[in-house]
Amino acid sequence: MRRRGVGVGAVKDLKAGQEKYKEKGNLLQENLIDELSRNLDQFKTKLEAFAAKHRSAIKKDAKFREHFQDMCATIGVDPLASSKGFWSEMLGMGSFYYEIAVQAVEVVLSTSHLNGGVMSLGELQNRLNKSRSKSLKQTEVSCEDILRAIKSLNVLGKSCGVIASGKSKSEYLIFCVPEELSLDNTTVVQYAAQSGSPFVTVDSICSNLGWTTQRADSVIKTLICEGIVWVDDTSRGRMYWFPSLFMANKGFD
């Protein structure tokens, strides 16, 4: 009967065995990593091939772009947002959203003498696509594209942004103002947009938001100063109209 190993020799044996296991373990791990990185490589190649193959569809078709964006988001890449790396080379559109953001701000600012720098998403989309269509290279953008682009401007501070209001995305309001919109101002614009009527009165603000006349007056004063509302004196008192809401889809000259 063999004695169980005791003494120096046995300890050595045990150690050697453990080394062996470790070695084997490392080998397995390496294999796994190899496999994984091979998979990833393969995946990347496939994604690249997919992107290359559907490049024009991604650029041209807003719906397709949205799905592609969603698919990439689930694995944690945002190929359209970065301006560097193989994605921008692959698609030639790394600065896609950057470009839209700049154009959107330009459109809103160019009409700010009419609406104080507040515009419905629907009107913005119309105007943006109209000006983009003049350049053959540029493709139609969707409301989602614009929202994504505007959100990327958050890093620049609070003077550009989105006020979610209304039932559909096209009723959202986009603003680009010299001073950032205060919370009270935003609340009134949002209330007006949600009320479904393009004007407010001091009374309607007070009764719907539970504010004092003074608070409502002060917001109205700022909105007039910024050119966001126009004053309408009627026999029933003063109304304050939002050109951005009134003209949501018609468009002033």
Partner: protein
């Protein structure tokens, strides 16, 4: 817009249906934009319908569809701005209730008149005011006092001589030079 009868005019700006357009805006920048849209509208309307002067009671200042009328103060401000920018001139500066509309400048009218005089063989001969404002002339329908202002432009550059009109009397005729 059904307010203005017997006139075909379809170039209403989008703002014409925007109720605050009929209230003079307190914000200076907004008001400047508002005035420029009003003035463009008045000039477009005048040139399309050959309207040469306008006063406070003109129906263009009322939009019955949205039940809004521009206030007297608003109309006066528009008139003042048109005069300041040489797009209008008081008919009677002491009353200020009515202005001539220069939908094209006096200088352009002077050129048009000169061309028509050349074409009509009126050079070096005397023409009556009545003749110049006759049907089918380019200045057809223009008010006499306005025509005299145009003639003064030509006279100042030596292209014609106005006869009569001294001491507030009426202008009788004009002689065009080559």
């Amino acid at each position: 817009m059904a307010t203005i009868a017997a006139v075909e005019f379809n170039s209403w700006p989008a703002h014409y249906n925007f109720p605050p357009f009929f209230t003079l805006q307190p914000n200076r920048e907004t008001q400047a934009k508002q005035l420029s849209i009003w003035i463009q509208l008045i000039k477009d309307y005048a040139s399309k319908t050959r309207l040469f002067s306008i006063d406070h009671s003109h129906p263009i200042f009322t939009n019955t569809e949205i039940s809004r009328s521009l206030t007297q103060e608003g109309i006066s401000t528009i008139f003042d701005e048109m005069i300041r920018t040489s797009q209008g001139e008081y008919v009677d500066a002491s009353k200020k209730d009515r202005i001539f509309i220069w939908w094209q400048s006096k200088e352009v009218w002077a050129k048009v008149l000169m061309q028509s005089a050349e074409k009509g063989g009126l050079l070096n001969s005397v023409a009556t005011i009545y003749e110049l404002l006759n049907d089918h002339t380019p200045l057809e329908g223009m008010e006499e006092a306005m025509l005299v202002k145009v003639l003064k432009v030509l006279e100042a550059s030596g292209k014609c001589e106005v006869m009569g009109g001294a001491a507030g009397g009426s202008v009788e005729g004009v002689k065009f030079f080559m």
